[in-house]
Each structure stands twice: as C-alpha cells, then as structure tokens.
C-alpha cells in the first residue's frame, strides 16, 4: 500500500519536473555548445538553469499549479529539493562521463 502511494508521488514529481527538465536541458546544451561542448559544462549549466526555470515556470507563470502538488502532500520545499537533487545527479553523471 505504502509502495503504491510512494510510486504515485514519484510519478507526480516526474510530472512536475518534466517541464523544467526539457526547457533547462535545451538551454544547457546551447550553453554547452557555446563553451566547447564539454559534458561538465552542460551539467554545470543545468545545475543553475533548472532552479531558474522552476522559478519562472511555476513561481511566476503557473503559481496555482502548485496546488495540484500540495494536495498530494508535496510541499514547496520538497519540490524545490527535487529540482536541486535532479540537477546535482545530472551534473555528477555528466562529470563522470
């Protein structure tokens, strides 16, 4: 029961992150190309751009959409943490490559 509930929460975090991820990744790749196309550069750009994208996409443009996630028990802090964790993991993966 708990497993299904946790899985549902994870799927909702992915839904939240999907928009941030695609927009941020495109911008990061463009920055990466401009600065020598190093994977680390893309990872580092993403680390900074993903939170900025969340700020513009959710905090400024679609603030009310937070209520969808709040009603699932996902707080603002948890959603921000998810963005930083994904950006950090992405950075580490690209650094290892």
């Amino acid at each position: 029961m708990l497993k299904i509930d946790t899985l549902r929460l994870l799927k909702n975090i992915i839904l939240f992150q999907k928009k941030i991820f695609f927009i941020s990744y495109i911008i990061s790749i463009v920055i990466g190309i401009l600065f020598g196309f190093e994977p680390q550069t893309i990872g580092l750009s993403f680390l900074f751009i993903a939170p900025v994208t969340q700020y513009f996409f959710y905090e400024i443009k679609n603030k009310n959409q937070y209520y969808y996630y709040y009603n699932l028990g996902l707080s603002n802090v948890m959603l921000w943490v998810s963005t930083f964790v994904i950006a950090l993991v992405n950075f580490l993966i690209l650094t290892i490559i």
Partner: protein, 227 residues
C-alpha cells in the same frame, strides 16, 4: 471519529487584523458553510488551515495529528483553490490516474461528466469543465476533510446543481468546509453556517441574522427565505 479542530487562528497584515482567534470544528458527514463579505478573510482562513498561508498563530488538528504544514495534512486535508490548478499538457485520464488511487479513479472514469473529457488535455477544457474535474478529484482524494473555495465559480447552473447533489451524496465519509459567494446554495447545502466579519467568526443560528450582520439586504432575505 477523527474530528477537524481549528482553533486560535490569528492573522494580521499591515497592522490590520484579518483573523482574530478563529475557532471552527468540523466532523465527518458534516458540511460547514463559511460565508462573509469580499475581503473578509474566508480564503485566507482556508489556506491557513491547509498550510499554504502563514498565520500569526494556529492550532489545527485532525484526530491526534497536528497539521502544521502541507506534509502533515497529506491524506487528511485537501483544498480546492479559487482558480484552476491542474497541470497542462497531460490528459485528464492520466491526471486522474496520477492523483487518485485505483478504486477512486474508476469512479471518475465512469462518471457521466468526466467520461467525455478523459482524452482531452486540461488546457483544452472550458472553465466549467475544468472546475468539475477539479472538484471530483478533490472529493475522491483520500483526504478526510475537504476545503472548497468557491466551487461554483464559473460553472453553469446545471453543473452547479450536480455538484451540490454530488457533495450531499458523498458526505458520508468526509467533512467539508465550503465558501462561495453563491450564498443561497452554500446555505442550502450546509449543515451549519459560520459568518466571518472583522476577523471574528460567528455561528448563524437563524438566517435572519445575516440581515442584522449586514450580509444580506432585507429585500434579498425576504425574496429568498420568506415566500
């Protein structure tokens, strides 16, 4: 039975008292109608209870669980905001699957008003269609208490009547606090009415009190309640 206990809610903004030591209790199978004039603090109160608005003080408890923030209220308390809140670029079917548990998803999949919308995306729905999807999602969530902020906002009379009947038929396992400017329907739907004015909450025992409190004109009251 887990009772929703809201006490000592105080909120000031720019030295103006919005809410002053507000107290409400709600039990399951009960619908409380929260009414008040524009800017009286109804939405602020619901947001404070839900955990999205800060207050100077608050004490919210469901059963033995203290609700201090959104995470504490998970599966216990849900809130329908005034404005549409569903994410775009995803089908209603997928949203239902992501938001609800399987058995509750099936209820919505078979609902006469939701069925035609299942393959559409949120941004392709009309305001009224969005509202009914949102209301049914919130009602069928696991939460024991539901806070509805202007549920009749932007819905046609036929859908409004459907929502009223739907809430009545689904109140056996949940408690509701409803606020809307459509006071007639809130009053008809509610088991108890509370009136918010100048930061204070007053329980209304007789509808004529709403005239004395300046919420209704004598003419409006007589037209609606004295026939």
């Amino acid at each position: 039975m887990n009772k929703l206990h809201i006490d000592s809610v105080t909120k000031s903004y720019n030295n103006k008292v919005i809410l002053s030591d507000v107290f409400i209790s709600c039990r399951k199978e009960e619908i409380i109608g929260l009414i008040g004039r524009n800017g009286s603090g109804k939405s602020t109160l619901l947001k404070i209870v839900f955990g999205t608005e800060k207050s100077d003080s608050k004490f919210v408890k469901i059963g033995n669980t203290f609700i201090r923030n959104i995470s504490d209220g998970r599966n216990l308390i849900n809130y329908l905001p005034q404005d549409n809140f569903l994410p775009n670029n995803i089908s209603i079917r997928s949203l239902i699957n992501l938001f609800l548990e399987k058995e509750n998803s099936n209820v919505l999949f078979n609902n006469e008003h939701i069925k035609p919308l299942l393959n559409k995306k949120n941004q392709d729905l009309s305001g009224g269609e969005k509202r009914i999807v949102e209301i049914l999602l919130i009602i069928h969530s696991k939460a024991e208490y539901i806070l509805l902020d202007e549920p009749f906002n932007g819905v046609s009379p036929i859908i409004r009547d459907y929502i009223i009947e739907y809430i009545k038929s689904n109140k056996s396992s949940k408690g509701y606090i409803i606020t809307d400017h459509d006071y007639e329907n809130v009053i008809n739907l509610a088991d108890r009415i509370v009136f918010l004015q100048n930061g204070f909450l007053k329980e209304i025992k007789d509808k004529s009190e709403l005239v004395e409190l300046g919420y209704l004109t004598r003419t409006a009251y007589e037209n609606v309640y004295i026939k």
